[in-house]
Symmetry: C2
């Protein structure tokens, strides 16, 4: 609409920071210099102005509606990402318990465990044996492992409050928030730009914090101040709000889940049907957000990535720890992008398989 050359946009399969919905970016660009007649960018606006407070409040209302968050949960918009919460969760929640259960699902769970061990005892729970500590302050798990391409498709049963790192699959489908004690998610996959974390926390968990918890990350303090105790990452908050409105326009989480499952199913089918591509994850644990795959001829990895980029398919390189390829197909990735990827993969296999 402004003469901008959209031909340059690629399909971006980045694991995070990740693609944002095009209509969100277009709106943000159009109001970049003047938000709603305020004569300034959202990022130039004080966080305690009436305009920003209204934006912040609406963003929370929209997220509550999307996730159907019960009224006995607070929603916090905090700075930093999930790794900040890896420290702040034990600081806020261990209280006098001393021990927490951490499910070892993969690489991200292991980083969370290592950080929690600074602040208390960790009982590592394996998916196979599931031996929890009867006195654990909480049980922590990672609902989706971006690097391994593993996702929980059920909510674990626990006695201890359930704490979930949903950084890479929040908002990809409806969930029953009432089953959780705390949900947290860094923004840079399904919410908005990096530098923001959403924390959804049940009221009874707000007041357990260690005195060593930095005040800006003290859940009770931030809950009492509507996350405005300090200057929050205001521009990321605004973009998160636009993403939530976009999701509502798509029909909410039920509608986006249908699309997400269809996208993932297609891609897994294309991989499974082929002799050339391989995904090692058990079907029950396959992620609908991050789909790693390997080529039968790993010596072709570089060529695959080069030709993919020429075809407008970017950021398909797998994580260094596992190699191969990975397609991250978060909410903002349209179905056409997955179709284009599958077509390219078939063509590449035909030529080099």
């Amino acid at each position: 609409m402004m003469g901008y050359d959209y031909m340059h946009r690629v399909y971006n399969f980045s694991p995070g920071p990740a693609a944002l919905p095009l209509p969100v970016l277009e709106q943000a660009r159009d109001e970049f210099l003047d938000w709603q007649g305020n004569g300034m960018s959202v990022m130039e606006m004080g966080h305690r102005t009436a305009s920003f407070e209204a934006l912040a409040a609406q963003t929370e209302v929209d997220l509550r509606e999307l996730l159907n968050i019960p009224s006995n949960y607070k929603v916090l918009f905090l700075s930093g990402g999930a790794r900040v919460q890896f420290a702040m969760i034990p600081l806020n929640l261990l209280g006098d318990y001393g021990t927490a259960d951490y499910v070892d699902t993969g690489i991200w769970a292991e980083i969370a465990i290592k950080e929690a061990q600074k602040y208390g005892r960790v009982n590592t729970v394996s998916l196979a044996t599931w031996q929890t500590d009867p006195n654990a302050a909480y049980l922590h798990y990672t609902s989706n492992e971006t690097i391994d391409g593993i996702q929980f498709h059920y909510i674990p049963e626990t006695k201890a409050p359930l704490v979930c790192d949903m950084s890479s699959d929040i908002l990809c489908q409806p969930i029953d928030v009432s089953r959780f004690g705390l949900i947290y998610a860094s923004a840079q996959k399904n919410i908005g730009p990096a530098g923001l974390t959403v924390v959804i926390v049940r009221d009874d968990l707000l007041d357990r914090a260690s005195k060593l918890t930095p005040t800006v990350f003290h859940y009770k303090t931030q809950a009492e101040k509507q996350s405005l105790y300090n200057t929050p990452p205001t521009y990321s908050w605004y973009l998160a709000g636009l993403v939530f409105q976009w999701l509502k326009k798509q029909g909410g989480l039920k509608a986006i889940a249908e699309i997400n499952h269809r996208k993932a199913k297609k891609l897994y089918q294309a991989i499974d049907k082929s002799e050339f591509y391989h995904n090692p994850v058990q079907p029950d644990f396959r992620s609908i957000m991050n789909i790693p795959f390997t080529l039968k001829k790993p010596e072709l990895d570089t060529l695959f990535l080069q030709e993919a980029l020429q075809a407008g398919l970017a950021n398909l390189k797998g994580h260094n720890l596992v190699g191969g390829m990975r397609a991250s197909i978060y909410n903002a990735i349209p179905e056409e992008a997955v179709d284009a990827l599958i077509a390219f993969m078939r063509d590449f296999e035909t030529r080099y398989g």
Copy 2:
């Protein structure tokens, strides 16, 4: 250039998040959907991609050049704002010392003191008596108090390493970085959007951290990883880079300092010459960034703000703790904005004084 209606832009005297230079905003808007032919927004780009790493490195180079940062200092780009550092500075620097000196300059210093007391002993130093602890790990001061409008125009002499919160006056004029152990500044005044903090730290202070320091805020870890240990607030980092380039185009800090001193001098003169406006700060400590002033008839405060806004002069309300008015005139505020404010103040005084 894109048919955007600039008539709506106001002069924005917000204390922070604050105005950004218009050319920076225009460039960011123009490349919002496609940064340098990558086919995506900077905010959609992985932080470990070659493109982002080059941007990040260039941003550091530009900041080093602007501030003439010696090579034995590391520059970190961390998430969160100054309040996060209020906790992270004692965690990283107290080490076995146990005590730190904190100069009590005003409201922000007091918040920093309260947070530091969670992690060790604080010896509060008053400007009048200047009684420091001979064994202090460091001496902390706030170079500019946004609420009180107080600024240090000299660098204190200390035995302990000097730690300075420069959130609201970094880059406003040249400083001798070599006099400091550590300088930190949240972005939302003179650097970029909220959610980013710059930390400039001397090498010998990197390895004193308490084991309780969250890894993402551990200076040594982040220094070793070029601040990419975790996903940083990439978009704010990019905008900081554009601001640094803009500053270089203005002629660097010497040139911007001349403008800043001229802007402040004009406004203080207008206040001092008038019988209607008043600034209570001693001339030697007056801030060139934040200029609070009161009206002789405080019952006219609301009218003053309303008429100012109608004249395109926004966010002049003083902080609730001190009342009255405040003009924050950071680097991005052009001299014309100060001229317009002074003209408005004179006119208002003529009509109501």
